[in-house]
């Protein structure tokens, strides 16, 4: 993106360095960037990460496979089910566990619900970044709250579910699960409509987001972007479609791509993805049958044979990959998380240079980063 205007200064001017974060309301956690600004135009961005580093990967290596699930929640605290899914699927692949059908369908439903709650968090926070006084935020949180209530009924926790297990689920879902999911979907559909009316259709919102923070498909691929950030640039890469896991090959859904790769596209791609998630959940609910939720023969202490695996799934923010090395025993020898936010965040500098200070905030918001996942 070129500078909005170039001006030959007749006198010496100096760019202003302005520090944004780690305690800034719109850096979504403890991200810090130093902006070099010339008037209102950003000339350079220096991002600093690592304020949230807790050594989660190393810690997970000290824990057995059941305890490690909890750490995945803590790396990605807005899409916990999706993060757990990568982990338990990696363990299952190493241990060669068969997962019962019912458990797989429930996992799919919960992961898509989690995608909805995560995207609602995005729309709300993004509305605030764009300058709506809390309305989008409150509306989004109302919808997210409904989903979190359901998660709480299922797992007993609102934030750190730790509900998936290698081989299946911790316990079966409550008896009223189907009715509750139907209720949640009803309010979710209305919530998506609200978001469209409040933001997508708003002229000022479009003026702020269209052609801002554009990134081309080639650049997005080079930076390793995944998820909605990549798809907004027009690359139809969705792991649910290209490498189907669970039963994603048995349900009907569309892969959503944008055309321009700007902030607006990243927003509408997410909103449209929410509609697709609702479709997927509705199909899953039809296919859900009673049955076991854990394999018949599951050892009390799960041990894996030596080996290594890289397993990736499509989390709301992109590819959430687990690289796991096992030397036998009940815990991973080495665990590495491939964080989608970390990769997406790398594209920030390219997107931001040459735009306005106000755009820098919106662009950062459109990447939808979770700092816990970036730093781990």
């Amino acid at each position: 993106m070129t500078a909005p205007f170039t001006h030959e200064h007749e006198f010496e001017t100096q760019d202003l360095m302005i520090n944004m974060g780690p305690q800034h309301p719109s850096t979504h956690g403890v991200f810090r960037m130093v902006l070099q600004i010339d008037g209102e135009v950003v000339r350079d961005v220096i991002p600093y990460i690592g304020y949230m580093h807790r050594g989660g990967e190393k810690l997970a290596e000290t824990m057995d496979f059941r305890q490690g699930i909890g750490w995945m929640d803590r790396t990605e605290y807005l899409a916990q089910h999706n993060a757990e899914l990568s982990y338990v699927m990696a363990v299952e692949a190493l241990a060669e566990l068969e997962v019962p059908e019912r458990a797989q369908w429930i996992r799919m439903i919960l992961c898509e619900l989690n995608r909805l709650s995560s995207h609602f968090m995005f729309t709300g926070a993004f509305g605030t970044d764009a300058g709506v006084f809390g309305t989008a935020f409150v509306y989004s949180f109302r919808e997210r709250e409904v989903i979190l209530d359901l998660f709480e009924e299922i797992s007993g926790d609102r934030l750190m579910y730790a509900y998936f297990r290698p081989g299946g689920l911790a316990w079966d879902v409550p008896a009223n699960f189907e009715r509750r999911v139907a209720e949640v979907l009803k309010s979710t559909k209305q919530g998506i409509k609200d978001m469209d009316g409040l933001l997508t259709e708003n002229e000022i919102f479009r003026a702020r987001t269209v052609d801002v923070g554009t990134i081309s498909a080639a650049d997005a691929i080079d930076w390793g972007c995944t998820g909605p950030v990549l798809r907004a640039s027009g690359v139809p890469l969705d792991l649910r479609r290209t490498e189907p896991y669970l039963y994603y090959d048995q349900v009907d859904f569309d892969v959503v791509t944008g055309t321009n790769g700007d902030v607006y596209d990243r927003f509408v791609v997410r909103v449209e993805e929410m509609r697709q998630s609702v479709r997927i959940i509705e199909q899953c609910m039809e296919r859900l049958r009673p049955g076991p939720f854990l394999p018949d023969r599951l050892p009390r202490m799960l041990r894996t044979p030596p080996g290594e695996i890289y397993l990736r799934t499509e989390a709301p923010r992109g590819e959430y990959g687990i690289y796991m090395v096992s030397r036998g025993g009940n815990r991973p020898y080495r665990l590495k998380i491939r964080s989608s936010c970390f990769a997406n965040l790398q594209a920030l500098r390219d997107m931001t240079i040459g735009s306005y200070v106000a755009d820098a905030v919106v662009i950062l918001g459109s990447l939808d980063i979770v700092l816990c996942e970036v730093d781990r």
């Binding site: 909005p4 202003l16 302005i18 520090n19 800034h24 309301p25 719109s26 209102e40 509305g127 605030t128 970044d129 764009a130 300058g131 709506v132 006084f133 809390g134 309305t135 409150v138 509306y139 109302r142 409040l198 933001l199 708003n202 002229e203 000022i204 919102f205 479009r206 003026a207 702020r208 269209v210 498909a217 080639a218 650049d219 691929i221 080079d222 990549l230 027009g234 690359v235 139809p236 890469l237 969705d238 479609r241 290209t242 009907d252 859904f253 569309d254 892969v255 959503v256 791509t257 944008g258 055309t259 607006y264 509408v268 791609v269 449209e272 306005y356 200070v357 106000a358 755009d359 905030v361």
Partner: protein, 386 residues
């Protein structure tokens, strides 16, 4: 020379002091009410309850907030410029309160009747930007300075359309005296003849007040409160008080100049309570509209804000003044003049809305949906990366 205040003959200076004291104490109460009202209104828009705990229905919330702010420590950064930093709140606070001098609340209810009331109000109101820049500069904070410079640019840009729109009304009303303007609207309020200036006035008012979608100088998600970043306690609350006082006074002005103030539709014969109620209702409607805009719209960017002022509002307000001048100079019969004025202004309003739609709301392609048939192609890396 003596003046008459509520039937008592008192010295001019004592009279002025009494009136000002009355206004300041009244305003403090009104501002508290406005803050409570804004919190309640916004809460209802957002499906919340707003303050409920402090007093019946949360009515004492503003009092509690005020007490808290007064009791808080007044912090001044070590590197701040002491004089500029400490004096800035007064430069914001005093001009706003001076604006009340000319505002007519009801028949014969104004502090002073000024022949050039509109000019006085506009001249005084533009002084407070000095305080903003002082606050931004004196704080020795880059966010504050960025916010102050934004505020200065914005105030200069929107002062002009504001002045032009009020001049247009002044031409139609044949007076710059606020009291006369209100009295002239006994039959029909000015908004009927001059819808475009009312629109320009409303937009410029939002910008003058730094309210959404023009809250760029104080943008919470960008410059974190702008010039007020470093202020705390009583000094910060003075900025806040000034902000809400300005909101109230501009709403009163809008009600008086465009909506007929206390005169329309009841006329001069009705009693004082009716007139005060009319003024309050009209000002309240404008304030409610401002709150409504605040909860609904995102924030514009600084270049869009400037472009809208200089490229749309200012030229079209010049055209409005010229058109008014032409109509009034050639003195057509009264009913033809009225129709002409209303038609020109209405056409201008339609034009502005069309320009806004064209320039701001670009049509966008919907996101592309790919189903199973079109399988994803493996993404290729660019030449540079290879």
């Amino acid at each position: 020379m003596n003046h008459d205040l509520f039937g008592f003959e008192i010295n001019v200076w004592a009279d002025a002091a009494a009136r000002l004291g009355l206004i300041v104490s009244l305003m403090t109460v009104v501002v508290m009410g406005l803050i409570y009202g804004e919190r309640k209104v916004i809460a209802r828009f957002q499906q919340r309850l707003g303050p409920t705990r402090t007093g019946p229905a949360g009515l004492l919330q503003s009092v509690a907030d005020a007490l808290k702010l007064v009791a808080k420590e007044d912090v001044r950064p070590k590197s701040a410029d002491p004089w500029v930093f400490e004096l800035a709140p007064y430069f914001v606070f005093v001009p706003i309160f001076l604006m009340f001098v000319a505002v007519p609340f009801a028949f014969h209810w104004e502090i002073r009747v000024l022949e050039l009331g509109i000019f006085y109000v506009l001249a005084v109101s533009s002084v407070n930007i000095v305080g903003w820049v002082m606050a931004g500069w004196g704080s020795d904070n880059r966010y504050a300075m960025l916010g102050a410079l934004r505020a200065a640019a914005q105030a200069i840009s929107y002062e002009l359309p504001l002045v032009m729109s009020l001049i247009a009304v002044g031409m139609v009303a044949d007076s710059f005296n606020l009291t006369d303007i209100v009295r002239g609207q006994g039959q029909v309020p000015n908004i009927v003849w001059q819808p475009l200036p009312f629109f320009i006035f409303f937009v410029a008012m939002l910008a003058e007040l730094n309210r959404t979608p023009f809250d760029i100088p104080v943008g919470e998600s960008e410059v974190v409160g702008g010039p007020f970043v470093e202020y705390s306690g009583i000094r910060w609350s003075m900025f806040f008080l000034a902000e809400y006082a300005a909101l109230f006074i501009l709403a009163l002005l809008g009600a008086a100049i465009f909506l007929g103030g206390w005169a329309w539709p009841l006329g001069e014969e009705w009693g004082l309570p009716w007139q005060l109620a009319l003024t309050a209702i009209k000002a309240g409607a404008i304030i409610f509209a401002i709150f409504w805009v605040r909860v609904t719209l995102p924030r514009l960017r600084i270049d869009q804000l400037m472009a809208f002022s200089w490229k749309v509002l200012l030229p079209i307000s010049f055209v409005q003044v010229l058109a008014n001048g032409l109509v009034l100079v050639y003195e057509p019969p009264q009913h033809i003049a009225d129709i002409l004025l209303a038609a020109i202004s209405g056409a201008g309003l339609v034009l502005v809305v069309m320009i806004m739609n064209r320039s701001v709301g670009k049509p966008r392609p919907r996101p592309v949906l790919t189903n199973r048939a079109a399988a994803a192609t493996p993404p290729a890396r660019s030449e540079a990366a290879r």
